[in-house]
């Protein structure tokens, strides 16, 4: 199967989990052209972990700016027709790209394909067939995009609390008429950190989402104003 794709991993102090993330990409039944690790100013051994692999893993380093800026920096290096992303603490299952690529070949107008995922605890080995809920994971970990269409959307912007950048980007992509779908199959595993935000939502960090949805409302208003103006002219 010929399917040429790059993978972008934004990584900040991810030395403990990055090795496993990269190995899960190298185990794909459809191998990547390149794995671009963007070290977002880590103070741990993140860069060394990435460099230890050698090709096809390459390292991009920048001062700490946020996951959005790091993802954008990675996208800027992509030369393949498709680009996938992976959060540095999650892992893919081996047929992830193969299954998603089939979806693209069946639907030439698609821009993005996501997938279901299961979760695993911080220090456990991912067990994809263990009982437990499946999640519809519209996140960086499952995202596979057509590169050309993705470039039309522009940069991934960072928001307060370093959350919401993907919601914002996908919202802007949809506004361009891009279609994203989810493959109804578990193709990734998401790490859950014990004690992180346990049983509650971190409302201070959630401010990023508020800013992102406010911008979505503003864009809706602007589009509505355009439509109204067109109506007046006619």
């Amino acid at each position: 199967m010929t399917f040429s794709y790059s993978v972008v991993i934004p990584a900040f102090n991810a030395a403990a989990t990055l090795d496993e993330a990269i190995r899960s990409i190298l185990s794909q039944t459809v191998p990547p052209h390149v794995i671009i690790v963007v070290d977002d100013g880590s103070t741990d051994e993140t860069a060394a972990v990435a460099l230890a692999f050698g090709p096809p893993v390459i390292l991009v380093q920048q001062h700490n700016q946020g996951p959005g800026a790091a993802t954008t920096a990675g996208f800027n290096r992509v030369t393949t027709p498709y680009v996938a992303t992976l959060d540095s603490d999650d892992v893919w299952l081996p047929r992830k790209i193969e299954v998603q690529a089939q979806r693209f070949s069946a639907d030439v107008d698609l821009v993005g394909v996501f997938s279901l995922a299961r979760q695993f605890a911080e220090h456990e080995t991912p067990a994809p067939h263990a009982p437990g809920p499946e999640y519809r994971l519209w996140t960086r970990t499952t995202m596979l995009l057509r590169t050309e269409a993705a470039r039309q959307v522009g940069a991934f912007r960072d928001f307060p609390g370093r959350l919401g950048e993907l919601v914002d980007w996908l919202s802007r992509s949809r506004e361009l008429g891009h279609r994203h779908v989810i493959v109804e199959e578990v193709l990734a595993m998401r790490r859950v950190r014990a004690g992180s935000l346990s049983h509650s939502i971190d409302t201070a960090r959630a401010r990023g989402y508020l800013v992102a949805v406010h911008e979505a409302i503003r864009r809706k208003r602007a589009r509505q104003a355009c439509v109204d103006e067109e109506g007046v002219r006619q």
């Binding site: 919601v167 014990a194 939502i201 409302t203 959630a206 949805v213 406010h214």
Partner: protein
């Protein structure tokens, strides 16, 4: 202690809200639904989540824009039905209401277009026992 009637508060922690340049935006993180408030709904919302009693708020509206009282009252019911506010166990605010009510009727617009994206994002990263909010099945 009995709950004081007509005192509400933000339905935290699921619901978050902020006013951007006079535009109040509300987001329910549990559902991914978000809301935009227009007209006098913005200042009314901020008084509500500041635990002013609805009686006091509506009296203030009535003093300046009597024709909007009914719509203001209906908005409170709508905010409750959307689960954005809840009855407060705390005493009501005794601060004076100092709002210049315009004659723009209160409006609330609800958006669901980003619901699944917001509900899947990492803010919901809770522990394994609690799980993430299990996403609702597709309609």
């Amino acid at each position: 202690m009995p709950v004081e009637p007509n005192v509400y508060e933000l339905n935290a922690p699921d619901v978050v809200s902020e006013t951007f340049d006079g535009q109040a935006v509300i987001l329910n993180l549990a559902t991914g639904h978000y809301y935009s408030l227009g007209g006098i709904a913005g200042p009314l919302w901020n008084l509500l989540i500041g635990r002013h009693t609805t009686d006091a708020i509506l009296a203030s509206v009535a003093a300046q824009q009597p024709h909007l009282v009914q719509q203001a009252s209906a908005l409170v019911a709508q905010l409750l039905s959307f689960g954005l506010i809840q009855e407060s166990q705390q005493p009501s605010s005794q601060a004076a209401i100092d709002v210049s009510w315009t004659n723009a009727p209160p409006t609330i617009e609800a958006f669901e277009d980003l619901a699944e994206l917001i509900a899947a994002d990492p803010v919901h990263d809770v522990d394994l026992e609690a799980g993430w909010p299990v996403l609702r099945p597709q309609p």
